[in-house]
Amino acid sequence: MIANRFCILALSVLASPASFRAEGAPAGASERARSITPAQAAKIKYSTQRFEYLDVGETFVFRLKDGAERRIRLISVSEEKDSVIGLVRRAEVKVEIDGETIALTCAPYVMPTETRGLRIQADTTSAWLDIPKRVQFSLWDATDPIVDAKLFGFPLAGYRLFSHGMQAYNEPVHLGHRDGDPAGQRFYHNYGIDLAGYEGRQKVLSAIDGVVAGANPEQGDLTIKDDRGVIVHFGHLDSILSGIREGAQVKRGQWVGMLGRRGGSGNFSHLHVGIFLSDTDLSADRAARNLNLYPWVVAAYRSENDAGPFAVARPHKAVLTGEKVLFEGASSMAPGSSIESFRWESHDGTRAEGARAEKVYEKPGCYIASLWVKDARGRVDVDFCRVRVYSRSKPEDVVPTLFVTFEPSAGVLADRPVHFRIWPQGRDVSDIRVDFGDGATVQGYEPYSAITHSFRDAGIHIVTVTGTAGDSPVTEKVVVHVETASVSLDRLPILPGLHAVGQFSSHNKKGLNGDSRWRLYDDEHGDAVIFDVEGPGCVRSLWGTDIREGATFRFHFDGEDAPRYTIPLLEFYQGKHPLFPPPLASYERRGRWIGDISWMPSRIRIGPRASRKRPRHGRRPHRRSIPGRLSRSWMSSGPAASAGSSSRGNPPTPSFRM
């Protein structure tokens, strides 16, 4: 039995056991007012964000980098609490920015708002945390990144954000044993962020460059201090690599250990990421509770992953029977696009279109509401909102949940094993059934046992885990995004599915060397078209040589008039574009005399029509699917396939061309 949810930090840097204290703090516990001072903010090199505190009616002036000023006045604040354990769930913060009234949502999983060159977030209110004034704001010049991802990286390898449970800033704890139950732990997770994952299999990476300040493998605690004295704390690690010991230098992105549930983890395997602003704070176990790490983690993840959109159905809900639940999907994100549609699906099959939806639950239990989003590019994602329903007449002490982990959660390949581990939280759950969503099921799953499953087809797979606790249903869902490998050697023996490959090439039709200045045709804009294909498919690689300054790729998909991507060729091949990073992008000199070779295996999917690009360029292999399998191929790609063609520019010294 885990009697104490609070994590005891047993860091080697601590001077004496007397200085140990609880990581979490119960809601309403009296603490001294907390704030981040300008001097402390200046120590944080990962972000230019500033912290300001306002009472209602007060005004603050923020100066942008171009010298312009923004006057921010706090107009009103209103908070909402749940009806089960009475914790604050969200707040509406109205501000006036240069005379324009804006309503900011202050709640877990909300990203900052950008307006008038300003990025602003209402981090917390005095109802959540004892702060000097009514609301704490974070402010950035909107041209600055939320976090400098070159300095602060996403701390999990091969992990898809939102694949697992999470405890974001100010979210009442809910993943651990009896967390969020009337008879359990009731406090806000405002001392960092929790990312759930598979115990002992999920790699943890250092988020920053620094020196190991402390490593306690028994408790799973690791602290890394940067050159300004700011400390990143990883908690509950299953193991810490042997070389990661006090005094060791580590680099951002360096593998340091494995995710686990050591220490006061609440019996759910996760990585806790926290920040301490000084050694003194670390010794006093005074985590930076004013620092909302959710936007940092999202920004760091997005900088490293060409992913999206992200459906965000969170945070979880705790309600009474007969109470109206309001689902909010507005925290969903579509990097580089916009979300075109929202659809909520309930356990009973009812659906609702739109970012917001309402639902009333008549029976106690743990339910899941699914949020599907689709962005302007047709990309789809799904996320889940866990709803714990308690009897209105006599709320249950505990509504148990099912905790689901799997690995890998990113880069999952078809026909490759995915490892699952599941267990109940709060109390026993019987008759656990795992439905992988592809026809495969596991009946009578034994909690904590390791099982594997391979998804045959690429695409979105929803894994549903159900059980019963007394008469109440318990449900949990996770989504597995299955991809087709670009290079998957052990899939090569599998014969290809029916599809066609082709290429466009600048080869000289007469067999001569003059295969430059080639194009399929010129379009109505005067652009040289070098690739034009109808039907679903995927551009698999591009090749060219003698790339000139000023040449530009313009990629058009699905009949779009405006190019979806406009990328200078040099930037594309040199791996400077975030969507096409090195080492796959290659740009080097391979000929003795002239000419750089540029090559880029890509996974650009094409729709029913075409792409146009600028000339002097090369290898444009593509894959085309044969009708009859179109939709499957479009969604899932099937086995990798295509081959290329080539063209070259105009060699400046053609006498060397033989």
Partner: protein
């Protein structure tokens, strides 16, 4: 699965002028079950000899179904550049994959090439340096290139015929050697069951062939790619065809288009002549 690991030396140096080695090989065996009718065997084709005037150098030719994965090639003698790779898939009369030259196929370009090693293409050694520093001498030493289509293996369903020119016109006499790689099942998955003789009234009538607004375009000056898509250039005009392959009896519809407009083409397929995939 066979996964080959080596430590910087070529997988196969068929024309090695000197002893190469030591070569360290590590063979890992993994138990993996594949469906009996759904997998191919790792298959190679070794070809060594003197090039033949007017004929492309053969990498791999075989009936069947599978993936073409790439080749290691050595060339020595006359100037071997500008040999375009020609990969004919499933009996196409013109190559679906038609490159711009041997040095380009190996992702080198602008011969003589320097030593380079990349995940999917390599040139072993600085060719001119090994040739004594002269341009002509560079052809006298055996080159060694490799190219692996692992990021995009080339599928075939009836036949693979992968070749490469020697020189730009198949006119040089040189000593070549190549080792081509594939995963192959000898039985074709795609079987041709019918054909239409365009221009034959009887053949067109038998297939319900219609080509609205069709008219002769005159001689086509360039060869195009075959398969289910053909694009050829007629000066600045553009002509293309796209074909909907019909997996079941019904009507196949094709559109042939030029910059001046499109011509819909349709033909029917009988149940007994439906295409077979298996």
């Amino acid at each position: 699965m066979i996964e080959m690991v080596w430590d910087g030396h070529p997988v196969c140096d068929v024309n090695a002028p000197r002893a190469v080695g030591p070569v360290r090989a590590e063979i890992r065996l993994a138990s993996q079950v594949f469906p009996p009718d759904g997998a191919g065997y790792f298959t190679t084709c070794f070809h060594r000899g003197t090039t033949t005037y007017g004929r492309d150098w053969l990498f791999l030719e075989s009936p069947g179904t599978g993936w073409f994965l790439g080749a290691v090639q050595s060339m020595q003698g006359e100037h071997y550049c500008e040999g375009d790779e020609h990969f004919y898939l499933d009996g196409a009369v013109s190559p679906q994959i038609h490159g711009t030259g041997s040095e380009d196929y190996y992702l080198g370009c602008f011969w003589p090439n320097l030593n380079y090693n990349s995940p999917f293409a390599n040139c072993v050694g600085d060719i001119q340096e090994e040739g004594g520093g002269t341009f002509e001498g560079s052809y006298a030493v055996p080159s060694c290139y490799s190219r692996f289509h692992l990021e995009a293996p080339i599928p075939f369903f009836n036949r693979i015929d992968a070749r490469i020119q020697h020189g730009g016109f198949d006119t040089i006499s040189s000593r070549y050697a190549s080792l081509a790689f594939s995963y192959l099942r000898g039985r074709p998955a795609l079987v041709q069951t019918d054909s239409i003789d365009i221009g034959s009234p009887a053949g067109e009538a038998a297939h319900g062939y219609k080509a609205d607004s069709s008219r002769p375009y005159g001689p086509i000056a360039a060869s195009g790619s075959a398969g289910d898509s053909t694009r050829v250039s007629l000066g600045r005009r553009r002509m293309s065809t796209s074909t909907e392959i019909c997996p079941a009896p019904g009507t196949i519809r094709t559109t042939m288009s030029t910059s001046a407009g499109s011509t819909p083409i349709s033909t029917s397929i009988r149940g007994s002549r439906r295409g077979k995939i298996g």
